[in-house]
Every structure is written in C-alpha cells, then in structure tokens.
C-alpha cells in the first residue's frame, strides 16, 4: 500500500474539527444513559454529522 494517510486517519482528522458538536451530542446521550433509545439525540447527531461532512469536504 502506498497511500499516505489511511481512511481512518482522514476520518479522525475531520471529526477533530467538530469537538463542539461532539460535546453537545455526547451530553445529550449521557444525560440519561440508563434509558437510551434509538434516535433520542437525532437532532444533535445530525448537527455533528453535518459538521463532519463539511470538514471532510474541506480537508480534501
């Protein structure tokens, strides 16, 4: 393999630009971690994902 950065590293790099969104999402899940259900924090997650997608695009 001759690729310089592995996909996981590119992924990690993009995510590292979204710490604020990640914190908001984390807080939402952890706030009531004994009864987490699907899409409980969908809104917060979409904000995180949008940030990551934007960062991944900019990074290329």
């Amino acid at each position: 393999m001759t690729q310089k950065t592995r996909p996981i590293q590119r992924f990690a790099q993009a995510v590292s630009k979204c710490t604020a969104e990640a914190t908001v999402y984390g807080q939402c899940v952890v706030a009531d971690y004994n009864s987490v259900h699907k899409n409980q924090c969908a809104k917060e997650f979409m904000a995180l994902k949008n940030c990551y997608l934007a960062a991944a695009k900019g990074g290329k």
Binding site: Y25, N39, F45
Partner: protein, 360 residues
Amino acid sequence: MRLTPLSSAALRRPLSSLITPKTQHQRRAYAFQTSGIPTSFQVFNNRTKWLQRERAASNVEASRQADYLKDEVAMRVAERLLDVKRTFPLTLDFGAYTNSLARALTNPNPDPSQPDADIPPLATKIGKLVAADSSEKALYRDAELQFNKEINMERVVLPYEEGSLPWEDNTFDMVLSSLSMHWINDLPGALGQINRILKPDAPFIGAMLGGDTLFELRTSLQLAEQERRGGISVHVSPLADVKDIGGLLGKAGFKMLTVDVEDIVVEYPDTFALMEDLQAMGEGNAVLGREMGAIGRDVLLATEGIYRELHGSKDEDGTVRLPATFRVIHMIGWKEGGDQPQPLKRGSGEINLRDVLGTK
C-alpha cells in the same frame, strides 16, 4: 436456631428404618468441568485472531509503535523473577507474540526500585527460553535485533487451533505468559496443559487482561449503538474476572497461588487513536458471532462524542484526553511437588490471631 423435634411417628419407628440401606447409597460428585477437556463454549474465533496478529505484525513499524502496553506488562512480569532465588535451565514463554518478555529479560537494569544496584539481567538466570506463539510473523519480527544475542532463545510456531501443547510432561523449569491468554477459549484446559509440562515444584508466572479492561470503550460503543441503531452488538471481548482466576489455577492443579491486579491507564487524544493502536497490537475484535465488517461511520462518530463526554478529562489548556483502562491480572502458581511448603492441618494453629493483631 430453633430445633424441630422429631415427629412422634418417627420416634415410634425402629431406628434402623431411619437409616438408608447401604445398597441405595451412591456417592455423588459435584458437577464441574474436567480440565483438559475442551469446553462447549467457544467465544473467540482462533483463526480470525491469528490472522489479525499476523497482519498486525507484518506492518513492522506500526506494530513496534504499539508495543508499549505489552512491553510494560512484560517488564512487570519479569520483575517478579527477582523474588525467585533459582535458575531456570529451560523456560517457556507461552504466547510470546513479538517477544516483549525476552526483551524485558535482557533489560540491563531489572529492578527499577534499585537503579544503582548491580543486578545482572534476568536472562542470566535462564538457560534457554522457548518462545512459542501461533503468529510466525510476530515471533520473527524482531529476530535481527540486539536482544536476541543476549538470551539463548528458540522460537516455536504453534498451530492457532487450541489443543494439546507439543511438549512432554515435566519438561520446563518455568512457564511465563504475558498478555496473550485472554484470547484462549478453553482457559482451564490451557492452564492444565501448562501444569502438565511444568516440572514438579516449578512456577508458572503469567499476566492476562481481564475484568474491566477497556470498559470506557465498551460503554461508549454500547451507548452509541443504542442511540444510533437501537441495539448493541459485541465489540469488546468478554474477559475473565479476577475472582475466577484463583479457582481456575487451583483447578488446574497449581499450589501456593498468588493473584493480584493492576490497572494500567493509557491516555489517547481520540477514540480513533485508541482503536488504531488496538488493531496494531493485534488486539482487534475476534469474538464469534460479532457483526462482520467495520463499525459504521455513524456509530464511530457517535462513540467519539460519548467517550469524550463520559470518560474524557480536560487539561488546563482545554484539550480533552481519553483514558483507556487495561486491567492486568497477574498470577503465580506452583506445580505440586518437591519439598514445597504445605498448609498446616486445619485446627492445628496454636496462636490466636486476635492476640497477634491486638484486637479485642
């Protein structure tokens, strides 16, 4: 306690009828798994684990960078040899992987508590070290390095399928094992095998991951999958608990057991660094029935957020560091034999513990 009197009917009956006739009496044994017979539980996929280790060790540079945990634990296992006033003509390193133990044994300064003491490297106590592992790539990764010249070592590649160890009974003067036994399906059987190949009155000194190892990653992944996908799957291995190890060693026939626990906490900048390092160590998920393929990006993204929030610690300058706990169970057991100290008979004590401890 209240005593219940026998019923009057029982009193009237002749005494002989109360005693069960001998012919009906059968000795009943407790139900337990005999060591050496494979358990019906298969938790790990041996072939997957072998492939992961071969692949990890093939990438020499990344693999060496991720040696820190195994090197640290190997050092601590080797340190325990300082307490044994013996020499070991023939020693086995069971699950040697990249020979962290051999490196630790050749350390020129074996006792960190006495940096100025002139103690020779522990390798001088060992006549010959047999390094055995299923991963050939890992075993030979560092075959060209300097430490190979400082210790008499033979490398043996074992099949990745668990089974009988290819040595005669009573072969080794000591068996060492550092951070590899947590991938064994049949741990009682493996310990029994180790006991078999040891000479009488010879020690087994081992360390394995157990208990709450990587609980931070386990909980974060579970929460992330629960929230993103509405269900969870296995990503972190089930591990042996500290309290089970004593029983397992005893059942395998070891005497004079010592079991202790040590938590090693490593800090990472993010969850990806942790997972990359685990992969480079060859410690990826190899649980049978795990979900095939990589963890989805959404779950990874969610895990990062949850791990930071649940377990992360903030520095003064605001950077978050993610701790990962590795719980290492250290164990020492001796094969029965020789003039080993034996426990005294029950009730033969002459000094009251209360007097010794000074309690009332």
